[in-house]
Amino acid sequence: MASITRIRACDYLFHLNVFRSSFFKKNGTQSALWFHSSAPKHVIELKMPSLSPTMTSGTIVNWHKKEGDTISPGDVLCEIQTDKAVMAFETEEEGILAKIYVGDDSSDVQVGSLIALLAESGEDWKNVQDSETSKISSEISPKPEKSNNFIEVSQQSEGFSKKSMILGPAVRGLLQRYGLSPSNILASGPRGLLKGDVLLHIQKENLKPVPISPIEKPIISSKTAVVESKKPAVAKATVKVQNLTHEQEYQDLELSSMRRTIAKRLTASKTGIAHAYNTVNCKVDSVMNLRQKFKNEGIKFSINDIIIKAVATALDLCPDVNVIWKGDQLIQPTTVDISVAVATNSGLITPIVTDVLARGVLEIGDAVRDLAERARGGKLQLHEFQGGSFTISNLGMYGVNEFSAIINPPQCAILAVGGSRLELGDGGKPVTVMSATLSYDEEAISPVAAAVFMSTVRSLLESPQSLLLGHRSLLT
């Protein structure tokens, strides 16, 4: 039942033997089959089937048959996970499963790609394996032209966006349709090109619309986004804020590719990871007092720096939370590297403070300020924002009380820190309270481990001197 094409193995044999080849051609293929019935006559290619109307690729969960097994009509060959469900892939063919190209647990197999070969019953299936494999592997080798193609297109689109003038949708549509560049057309509008200018130009030059090639469009939207996001630095600030006048009802804002990528990854994280949440309120008067005391002595650090130190210490005390995914494997790094969320014009980026345990609060502060500054200038190296075992996102400086963040895989947890506020404490005394919310991957971290971690963070922040104590300070 698969997508099946037959290859006449006989045709292939022609290439091997010149004498036979000329002989067969004279007599026709039919007689060739008669004379050499021992050679495999037909090989049936089984291709990845589309088992749902919207399926474009799928996962082969497991094969029910193995190489050399006899196949009869109606047999289930393998289980395939489509975009909707796991379905049995049946065949209407008869023969021997000669070769499996895509084994168990193969994900993202494109519809129409070759997954197995079927030989006719009674044929030497091992023979089929050898002779067909080379032929088919050359057929399915990837086409290199693809990459060239999209670079070209991405350059083109970049050239477009560099233009400072505002192009309305009608203008853009016309330019695209007639393959024009806005710089070649005389602009008469207060902010650049008008639709009338383009129409006039088209009429003058007597232009015809260029035929639209169907492949261009998807490449622009998807591929360029991926390419640009790989650039280490924050891409040029693309959003230009212009004052809207009453003549313009709206203005098109360009979304940076970085934001698109972030959105895509966050959507995948939020939908694909079992997010669980855990909030604690910490009384941070001691930390505030400590900071003030040092400040009076001329030593400056921020509350955030000490939060980073406290979280790192807590991760050291509760190593069950200091975990990341490596593929399907959960691993525990030996150091604590903390990603710190930094807002830039084109989106959020998380540079890493490495080996926090080995750093003092002042060194942490220096590292954070240096990384944040370079992040805003778009000068971070790849290794400076990729990796990390835990993320802290602090929106306290904006007056946010409490929020929850989305886990950044392959990490398993992220701490969202709110601002401090005054509350009525024991005996009617005012206390400064800060809320922190942990989002964690419940597959990797148990709720109890998360709770122990959060209470450790709280106790470390409530009595910063316990940062000195080490492992025995862990609450029982």
Partner: protein, 399 residues
């Protein structure tokens, strides 16, 4: 189960198919030219006498039935594959498992008898004279399709074949109408009107049966009972699953639809009945479909895979017929294998053409809408822009 009559050992063997001719140089000797079999007993409703359960089969017919059934099976397999490659889009209902029904009925039909069926129409289209290219290219929407690629799966037509019909049960009264036309024209032609066990519960069938009985119309109402109306088994859908009795005042026959010979005999009997002015008849053909209801039904959520495999192994119309031919020495295993190869080749070539042939141009958008258009203007997007109607293809079934 069957008695074998050996006759005419030395009789001249006629073989229409030239590609098989060389085989006869060594396979002629020792082969029978005719054999007789016993079919499963027919069940009768309001009939004194039924068709004969003892049937004779000539070697020539046997080879033809075998080839036709194989052709339909392979064609449907190819259609399923093309669908899974997303080359055939939309609706697609496969006939695999039910081949003996249309092949058996066609064997008893005369050239001027008519057929109208439901959406499972590929096999019938082939049997009524469209080659596999015509069927598969229609499914892929190419100009070489039997409706120039404009119809698709359920809309195939050819001389005396009034189509697959997409609306469940709608063909039942239409079939009675075709029978009325045949009678009105003064022929003794009969219209075979097919429907499934699901559509058998529709009210319009009983309205059509009533008028057909009243006016003694030459129509055979044929219920192809494959056990399931979409995903509902007959037991859950029908108060009475004896579909051959459900015409009440219309006589009925129950036939084993997995036996091409039984179907052929029953159809011959029914055609005789209708053509001699005795009015309509109901024929229940009990069969089985291997694939799901349509391509979007995996076909295993309402029945077990074991059930399907058991039917394949014990009741398959092609395997059963092949065994009969071999055991009565009507054909050799090699001969049948060669037919299989030839069928494979025909379907392979048809698939190639169905993939590569051209689609019709936009100018045919308004072509062949009516057979005899009175007004040749066709309304466009608005009432103010009209397109003109064109007549291109020959009008089939134009009286």
């Amino acid at each position: 189960m069957f008695s074998i009559t050996l006759r005419s050992l030395g009789r001249q063997v006629h073989q229409q198919n030239k590609s098989l001719a060389p085989l006869f140089t060594y396979s002629k000797n020792g082969l029978n030219t005719e054999a007789s079999f016993d079919t499963k007993p027919f069940k009768l409703h309001k009939l004194e006498e039924g068709p004969s359960t003892s049937v004779t089969l000539s070697r020539q017919d046997a080879l033809k039935y075998y080839k036709d059934m194989q052709m339909i099976r392979r064609m449907e397999t190819a259609a399923g594959n093309l669908y899974k490659e997303k080359i055939i889009r939309g609706f697609c209902h496969l006939y695999s498992g039910q081949e003996a029904c249309c092949v058996g009925m066609r064997a008893s039909m005369r050239s001027y008898d008519a057929v109208i069926t439901a959406y499972r129409a590929h096999g019938w289209t082939y049997m009524m004279g469209v080659d596999p290219v015509g069927v598969l290219a229609e499914l892929t929407g190419r100009s070489t399709g039997c409706a120039r690629g404009k119809g698709g799966s359920m809309h195939m037509y050819v001389k005396n074949f009034y189509g697959g019909n997409g609306i469940v049960g709608a063909q039942q009264p239409l079939g009675a109408g075709v029978a009325l036309a045949l009678k009105y024209q003064g022929t003794d032609g009969v219209c075979l009107t097919l429907y499934g066990d699901g559509a058998a519960n529709q009210g319009q069938l009983y309205e059509a049966m009533n008028i057909a009985q009243l006016w003694k119309l030459p129509v055979i109402f044929i219920c192809e009972n494959n056990g399931y109306g979409m995903g509902t088994s007959v037991d859950r859908a029908s108060a009475s699953t004896n579909y051959y009795t459900r015409g009440d005042y219309v006589p009925g026959i129950w036939v084993d639809g997995m036996d091409v010979l039984a179907v052929r005999e029953a159809t011959r009997f029914a055609i005789d009945h209708c053509a001699t002015g005795k009015g309509p008849m109901v024929m229940e053909v009990v069969t089985y479909r291997y694939s799901g209801h349509s391509m979007s039904d995996p076909g295993t959520s309402y029945r077990s895979r074991d059930e399907i495999q058991e039917v394949r192994q014990t009741r398959d119309p092609i395997t059963g017929f092949r065994e009969r031919m071999l055991s009565t020495n009507l054909a050799t295993a090699d001969e049948l294998k060669d037919i299989d190869q030839e069928v494979r080749q025909v379907i392979e070539d048809a698939v190639k053409r169905a993939k590569s042939d051209k689609e019709i141009g936009l100018e045919e958008l308004t072509a062949d809408i009516s057979c005899n258009p009175i007004d040749t203007r066709v309304r466009g997007v608005t009432a103010f822009d009209t397109l003109s109607h064109r007549r291109l293809g020959p009008a089939v079934n134009n009286h």
